[in-house]
Symmetry: C2
Subunit: 416 residues, 2 copies
């Protein structure tokens, strides 16, 4: 069956200079894929009229739907609108609805519309106006020879709302793409090259219209099944059967069959059991707390925590005795054991998660090189600890420590 | 003067499905730009032989250097090597150095080389072997008609080390590009459309070979000057003159003329003054601590903190009285004032940074809607507070709160 092809074109010198990571292309690719479009390419070019025009023409050769972000701002380096007007051979004129929206937006912010910002209401007359619910740069919808080209602002928060509320509904209505379904299996603590042989036979028995992909992240591998077909009910059933047949050797690493991060999976377990959690972080410096509290509704189970970065804080706020620090060092099992137990007690939580390690790049010793980390989880009378030997990269060590600490807590709650 | 053009091609279905954010393209684009290459386009295609081949051919039309990442892994969905062999009309053969490296790598990890992994030593004979210092998938360097095509693994940590140690030095030697210089001005608390008119006249007086770009991030705008010329000394002087002439109206928002995040700028101020800092976080849940401790060497000035997510923790760990919470609510000036002062005292720090707010999506009231945040900084006898009215997006509110709280601390230290 024929799928509607889509492309994403992101525009901005800052993206080519690599000083900003482009999150718009992945976001739009995902939205389009989940809507059933076949995303065949994403392209990034600079604020350069010739490059933008060439990329547009090339995309129109390959795809029916072309989504553009960036270069719509009020500053000199924004060229997209002029290029589109030229590309679609269209005059520019002030659009009454766009102007009305701008005036309302500025009034709401208690500001008057500047001449610079009023220019944002000027649009190619061949473009359909797409409202920007949260910003000043309007979107544009062009149709030519059965193909659709949409331009959206580059500011991710504005673009996402415009995509969700305006563009995606219209794209669905216009192209009516058939369904693409995904199922994921989330694993922790095993690498791609270890998983691959375990899954090889299973993968070869998948129906041809269901594909497996390995999506590795630090400490984790996401297994994604992508299936495409006319009958989404049958497709979902085939995927369920595939997941039920997942090799037992893989099971111990699986923590979720939904697309949940470990902090979300842990949060759900805590919520359903009415349990609360507190953190005692040294080397992660607050990152575990941040991951937990990034989840909306986490106040239901997160009490708080102590960031015991300095040893004196471990002593004064978590009751670690100077003797223990002296005898074993800050990066040791006895210390994380006390940290986890004490943070539970002092913050009145059911579970306490603790870590202490050498994040690097400095601070390593022959006995405890950079990447040496102890994690602990206290739950009621039980305390479990684990020693990790991680990498030489500071930020990677912080992330891995958080992932494994959250996994440890998840395992203890589930083990009940 | 003619610049050497470069393109980046990243490969992987997961990138087009948008379930993984491509950090390789921005990283390579930045490395190439800073080395003086003109990055004209970055492209992402799926694990699809036809698409990869077409993207390769198109890139070779536009650029002299093409850098590819992804699709080199040992699993079924990795096609890049086969496509390259076909594209460059080259046989495949086991490369002795690659095999030797694989055997050594597995021995070092105490594992024996599996058949699946041994396949990774098979390379197109026309390719020069590029060692992967930290992984199993080797890189490949192709030369044809004065153009260079390099394939690297998609795992960011492996790719980065290969780029730094192997590919970049060889690219520099091969093409000897002329210098591109950047200077940045980092601002906080002002939007792009407010800055633009303030900088308009200044920008028009920049030399034609120096370009200004606005790089907005939540709460921040990075102003980047990019200059290109044969004489890097003269170029640097011209940029210094431009920065010295920056309009006074912009100065209050500037916190750094180096490319530093606010936590780095604050860290430098604390270090040079021998000051220490502690955090008392409610709505940010540890994110301020995380940003501070993401910086290597932050243990010199970060004591730690208290994550007082639950009000009972504000009471028990930070001495906020129930009466004050009753009278003013957790999101109030008196509460953050006490939090900042007490965390200083209890953790023995010179500065205390505190915040309490409604991150959302829930928890808003007519008086305190989602996005209402109080921040405070205590330094010696002085305590400064600020009320923020932010957005309806939880993660954005967390980030903005952290940025403005760190800015407040930076301002108080500097104001001495």
């Amino acid at each position: 069956m024929l799928r509607v092809r889509a492309e994403v074109l992101t525009i901005g010198d800052e993206l080519l200079l690599g000083q900003v990571v482009d999150t718009n292309a992945p976001y739009l690719a995902r939205q389009l894929s989940e809507a059933g479009f076949l995303v065949v390419q994403t392209t990034t070019v600079g604020d350069d009229a010739v490059a933008i025009r060439q990329a547009l023409a090339a995309a129109e050769q390959r795809a029916e739907a072309i989504l553009i972000t960036g270069g719509l701002g009020p500053t000199r380096d924004d060229l997209t609108k002029a290029v589109l007007a030229d590309y679609f051979e269209s005059e520019l004129a002030e659009h009454p609805d766009a102007l009305h929206h701008l005036i309302a937006l500025f009034a709401q912010r208690g500001k008057t519309l500047s001449a610079l910002n009023r220019q944002q209401a000027i649009l190619p007359v061949k473009a359909q106006y797409v409202v920007n619910p949260t910003g000043t740069a309007p979107g544009m919808w062009f149709e030519r020879a059965g193909k659709v080209t949409i331009a959206m602002p580059g500011v991710p928060s504005e673009m996402k709302i415009m995509m969700q509320q305006e563009c995606l509904p219209r794209l669905r209505a216009h192209f009516q793409p058939t369904a693409l379904l995904h199922r994921v299996v989330r694993t922790i603590g095993v690498g791609e090259s270890t998983l691959a042989p375990l899954l090889d036979t299973w993968e070869t028995h998948l129906p041809p219209h269901i594909r497996l992909a390995y999506l590795p992240a630090p400490g984790r591998v996401k297994l994604r099944l992508s299936g495409h077909g006319p009958d989404s009910g049958q497709l979902m059933q085939e995927m369920d059967e595939a997941l039920n047949a997942l090799p037992p050797a893989v099971q111990p690493y699986v923590y979720s069959y939904e697309d949940l991060e470990i902090e979300e999976a842990l949060g759900q377990e805590l919520k359903t059991r009415g349990l609360t959690l507190a953190t005692a972080e040294s080397c992660t410096g607050g990152y575990i707390g941040h991951r937990l509290t990034s989840i909306a509704g986490s106040s239901a189970y997160v009490r708080g925590g102590v960031i015991a970065y300095d040893n004196e804080v471990k002593i004064s706020q978590l009751g670690v005795s100077p003797d223990v620090l002296q005898a074993h060092g800050a990066v040791s099992e006895p210390v994380v054991r006390i940290m986890a137990t004490e943070v539970c007690r002092r913050l009145g939580a059911h579970l306490g998660v603790a870590c202490s390690g050498v994040a690097g790049p400095g601070g390593g010793t022959p006995e405890k090189p950079v990447g040496t980390v102890w994690i602990a989880c206290a739950y009621g009378a039980r305390v479990e600890t684990r020693k990790l030997q991680l990498t030489t990269e500071r930020l990677l060590n912080i992330e891995l420590t958080a992932v494994y600490a959250l996994q440890l807590a998840w395992q203890m709650v589930r083990a009940e």
